[in-house]
């Protein structure tokens, strides 16, 4: 059954989009990730214009983060103060990102920048994940292996920064500039790539800010809601590329898929899951890289509008 998407202005197979949302939802339930970094490239592979894919994915992530944050909120796993500081950076970063997006689009370079961002980030994160997981798999054979963690009280240039703030829930006393910068950077990625940014935010929170792992997911989900909401709003105003119909279809598939994924994931070992996710991330990265490197069959592209 075909459905005409009002903003993307193409007609798509409704079951294919539902399936796509479901598949990514399954994976996000399985691996405990947002899935934005998969949904956007898959939509682009399917033929949805990149601009619409990115903006719509942001809208969809609002929903998946809202549904995820409640459980963490009830368990008290959200550091509100840290979340708000990250958010302040995120709002500025995503606003700059949307503006950058519109500018790159007018230059005709947005597709390239989206692809490059994906190749770089997916490559780094997929590679690290795979490496770490294979090490963990081999280590568990010897038993007693613990996950590497940065020392909380090591002193570096980070602790010399001004505007120190106490974050009680995380048990941290660090400069507010640091979470502001992290928030800003991830916010920019949200606008440019249509991702929640959890895959950058979570490692940054653990290794850079030194937050305890228990509050990381909840806090990152909390701030992602508002940053993606900001991106959705700004993209609607500036580029009119948010397709609500597409977002709703992805949502329905995603919510159902996530439930199955979570049940299925409970039966697998954590490091095996991470190794699988790493492989998946790397293969998406390689596909994107391949498309950039091989000579395209059509060297010319057209776009309506002014230069």
């Amino acid at each position: 059954m075909q459905i005409y998407l009002p903003i993307a202005e193409i007609s798509v197979n409704i079951f294919l989009i539902l399936g796509l949302g479901g598949g990514v939802g399954f994976l996000s339930g399985l691996f405990g990730v947002g899935g934005g970094f998969l949904i956007t490239p898959l939509l682009i592979f399917y033929g949805i214009p990149p601009a619409v894919s990115v903006a719509t994915a942001a809208n969809q992530i609002v929903a998946s983060s809202v549904s995820g944050v409640f459980a963490h909120w009830r368990r008290g796993n959200v550091d509100l103060k840290m979340g708000l500081v990250l958010l302040a950076g995120g709002i500025v970063g995503s606003t700059v990102g949307v503006w950058l997006f519109a500018w790159l689009r007018s230059l005709g370079q947005i597709d390239l920048v989206i692809s490059l961002c994906y190749v770089i980030f997916l490559g780094i994160i997929g590679g690290m994940m795979l490496l770490e997981a294979t090490r963990a798999i081999f280590r568990t054979r010897r038993k007693g292996g613990s996950i590497r963690r940065s020392k909380k009280h090591q002193h570096s240039f980070i602790h010399g920064l001004p505007f120190k703030v106490r974050f009680y829930r995380s048990g941290l006393y660090i400069s507010a500039l640091l979470p502001l910068a992290v928030g800003f950077f991830v916010g920019m990625l949200t606008a440019l790539m249509g991702v929640g940014g959890g895959f950058v935010m979570v490692p940054a929170m653990i290794y850079l800010l030194g937050m305890p792992t228990g509050v990381v997911i909840g806090t990152s989900l909390f701030q992602i809601i508002f940053v993606t909401a900001n991106v959705t709003f700004l993209q609607s105003v500036q580029t009119q590329t948010v397709d609500v119909a597409l977002a709703i279809l992805l949502l329905i598939g995603g919510v159902i898929g996530a439930q199955f994924g979570a049940q299925f994931g409970a039966r697998l070992k954590a490091e095996h899951l991470r190794a699988l996710l790493g492989l998946l991330v790397l293969s998406v990265c390689l596909k994107l890289l391949f498309d950039l490197v091989i000579e395209p069959s059509e060297l010319y592209s057209i776009m309506p509008g002014n230069l």
């Binding site: 005409y4 409640f70 390239l112 105003v237 439930q259 060297l299 309506p304």
Partner: protein, 254 residues
């Protein structure tokens, strides 16, 4: 299926009417060329996957027919990819004015047999006689290559037809052709010109408009997104928040 039979029935009735009127009214006012469409409105609804519009008509005296369909004009940017540090990057570009968003032509015989090239050129009939005004800041840009690329891309998108469609004559006087509009047909007012050509000269021209517009839910969403874009953004966020909340409530008990 029912749709095509219905249009066929409409066609038969109208053609009968055409024949009788051209027959009886021959002395009163001799119309050399009469044309009409099965539908003057292509409605893009939520289930739109492309459609055919039937063009039919009658000529009084034997002749050749050429039909051109031209969508609304727009500016188009053509970009060329170049390899830079191993990856393919958009580099040079050219801009064209008054490129039709859709162009299709049809004829009962090959156009160059029907009419001399000068006439096709003067009336801008056929894809190769469309003049796109290039706005380029780089004088060294090879206009022909870019123009070809523009046409090729539009053809791949299904918006320019690759070769003229076939017009079939049902008798010496009655003709019909299908104009295909793909799923990605741009909206706007289209101009359909029907040329009657006798002895290599244009004997008559009929022009008829065709409107392609979005209707129903998708039209309203599009309209809303463009006219009240801030409100649209807020609504999009609210929908997502509510959907996420419902999902978390629905699956909490398990």
């Amino acid at each position: 299926m029912t749709r095509s039979t219905r249009t066929l029935a409409v066609l038969c009735v109208t053609m009968l009417a055409l024949v009788t009127t051209t027959g009886t009214a021959k002395r009163a006012s001799a119309e050399p060329l009469v044309v009409d469409l099965s539908n003057h409105l292509v409605a893009i609804t939520t289930g739109f996957t492309g459609t055919d519009v039937l063009l039919f008509g009658a000529v009084q005296h034997e002749g050749d027919i050429i039909v051109t369909v031209r969508g609304p004009d727009q500016d188009m940017v053509v970009r060329r990819k170049e390899r830079k540090i191993g990856i393919w990057v958009n580099s040079e570009s050219a801009r064209y004015k008054n490129v039709p968003a859709y162009y299709a032509s049809a004829s009962n015989r090959p156009m160059d047999i029907i009419a001399p090239k000068s006439i096709l050129q003067d009336y801008r009939i056929g894809l190769e006689h469309q003049r796109f005004i290039a706005i380029s800041d780089n004088p060294e840009t090879d206009q022909k290559v870019y123009r070809d690329a523009l046409v090729r891309n539009m053809q791949n998108a299904g918006l320019f037809n690759e070769r003229p469609a076939k017009i079939s004559f049902l008798s010496n006087q009655l003709f019909r052709t299908d104009i295909h509009f793909p799923a990605n047909t741009p909206t706007g007012t289209y101009t359909i010109n029907v040329y009657l050509i006798q002895n290599g000269r244009i004997a008559s021209v009929k022009t008829t408009p065709l409107v392609v517009s979005k209707t129903g839910v998708s039209a309203e969403v599009y309209e809303f997104a463009h006219r009240y874009s801030a409100l649209y953004g807020i609504v999009a966020v609210i929908i997502a928040v509510v959907a996420g909340w419902i999902a978390s409530v629905a699956f909490r008990k398990r």
